[in-house]
């Protein structure tokens, strides 16, 4: 239980940030739903794996962060490919936005 609450909070925050970004990008209806679903698909898995590697195993956070973020972008790009215009540009920028916004919020 002690891991689920932070994960849920992280997912909720990511969804808000990325849906806002998606709206500004011009996405609507099914495309917005796809943004929602692709985050539910990737975010909890990435977070639990990150926690396991860095907190439990005590690994340095750089490599897990890079590897997991790359995997997230790859999976989300595949979800969006053929579903919207410029899927890879969108996926890279939306993840960069939510990652940096998350870092900024942590410092506040």
């Amino acid at each position: 239980m002690s891991l689920l609450l932070p994960m849920a909070w992280t997912l909720a925050l990511t969804l808000v940030l990325e849906l806002v970004f998606a709206l500004v990008w011009g996405l609507r209806r099914e495309k917005l739903l796809m943004v929602l679903l692709m985050n539910i698909l990737t975010n909890p898995a990435a977070n639990i794996l990150y926690s396991f590697m860095t907190v439990y195993l005590g690994w340095s956070k750089c490599l897990p962060a890079v590897v997991l973020e790359t995997a997230v972008i790859a999976v989300e790009g595949l979800c969006c490919r053929g579903f919207m215009d410029r899927p890879w540009s969108f996926v890279i920028l939306v993840n960069l936005f939510s990652y940096t916004a998350g870092l900024l919020l942590q410092t506040l």
Binding site: M1, S2, L3, L4, F21, V24, W25, G26, E30, L33, M34, L37, M38, I40, L41, P44, A45, I48, S51, F52, T54, V55, Y56, L57, G58, S60, K61, C79, G82, F83, S89, L93, L96, F97, T100, A101, L103, L104, Q106, T107
Partner: protein, 262 residues
């Protein structure tokens, strides 16, 4: 235009912050950097008391035990915080930086240190600034955790003190003076080339001043129950299984939406 705005939003949010502090902090501990704002500074040396062992974990929550410290092990404690009703601290065994981690602070005994000494002997301590000229001392200067501790925590090498490039123009400054029961004088060095401690002003080069103090130590140990080699990690298996179910259901929904769109 909208896409340009999105790009600009992303670039603007890129922040870089660097902070430096002279206090030790865990080098690469994810739990610490997520909770450092809730942590309190301790910056003191503790010991594993007789009859007890202390487990060191990667984190107070979700961590795993990386080492068990035996009785008598000295531990530097940097910071503490409360987690699940317990006080956890982060630090490392003295001389073993590789084993930095988290441990239950209630299982450790705080060593009598400079702070306690100053509190207990305030009447014999005066704020008095002075200095020793290193080239006139003519030898290695010993520094002590507190007067009469018998524990030398550092030495100021004669060669470094006398060299032309020495810090502070070759002078070792002190800001407090303690007069011991035998009339001996001790000066407190706030900082000199990384050293902090007391030096015996009457003979700074004496490797074993006669004064011996045995102050009463306040007991800080509150948890003496046997500590099992028990990981603090949650049931990762169950969490992974739950996430797996979420992934499966979400993947099916995504496939369904994509088929519908075609």
């Amino acid at each position: 235009m909208k896409k340009l705005f999105c790009i600009l939003m992303t670039v603007m949010l890129l922040t870089v912050g660097v902070s430096a502090d002279v206090l030790w902090e865990p080098y690469d501990n994810d739990y610490y950097w997520k909770h450092y704002q809730q942590a309190s500074t301790v910056a003191a040396v503790y010991e594993v008391p007789d009859g007890l062992t202390v487990n060191v974990y990667t984190a107070p929550v979700g961590g795993k035990c990386i080492k068990t410290l035996e009785e008598g092990t000295a531990v530097y404690v940097g910071f503490s915080l409360k987690e699940n009703g317990e006080i956890w601290a982060t630090g490392y065994p003295l001389g073993d930086f590789e084993t930095e981690g988290w441990f239950r602070l209630g299982r450790l005994q705080k060593r009598y240190s400079h702070e306690e000494f100053v509190n207990d002997n305030a009447d014999q301590i005066a704020a008095e600034e002075g200095w020793l000229v290193a080239s006139e001392v003519g030898g290695t200067i010993y520094t002590w955790t507190y007067p009469g501790s018998g524990v030398s925590d550092g030495i100021l090498e004669e060669e470094l003190l006398s060299s032309g490039s020495d810090y502070n123009d070759g002078m070792v400054s002190y800001g407090l003076v303690y007069t011991d029961p035998d009339g001996g004088r001790w000066g407190y060095i706030g900082y000199h080339m990384g050293h902090v401690g007391w030096m015996y002003l009457d003979d700074p080069t004496d490797p074993g001043p006669a004064l011996q103090l045995h102050p009463e130590v306040v007991n800080t140990v509150t948890d003496t129950a046997p500590e099992e080699d028990m990981t603090t990690a949650p049931a990762y298996g169950k969490v992974f299984a739950a996430v797996g179910v979420v992934i499966a259901i979400t993947a099916l929904l995504i496939v369904h939406i994509r088929k519908k769109q075609r």
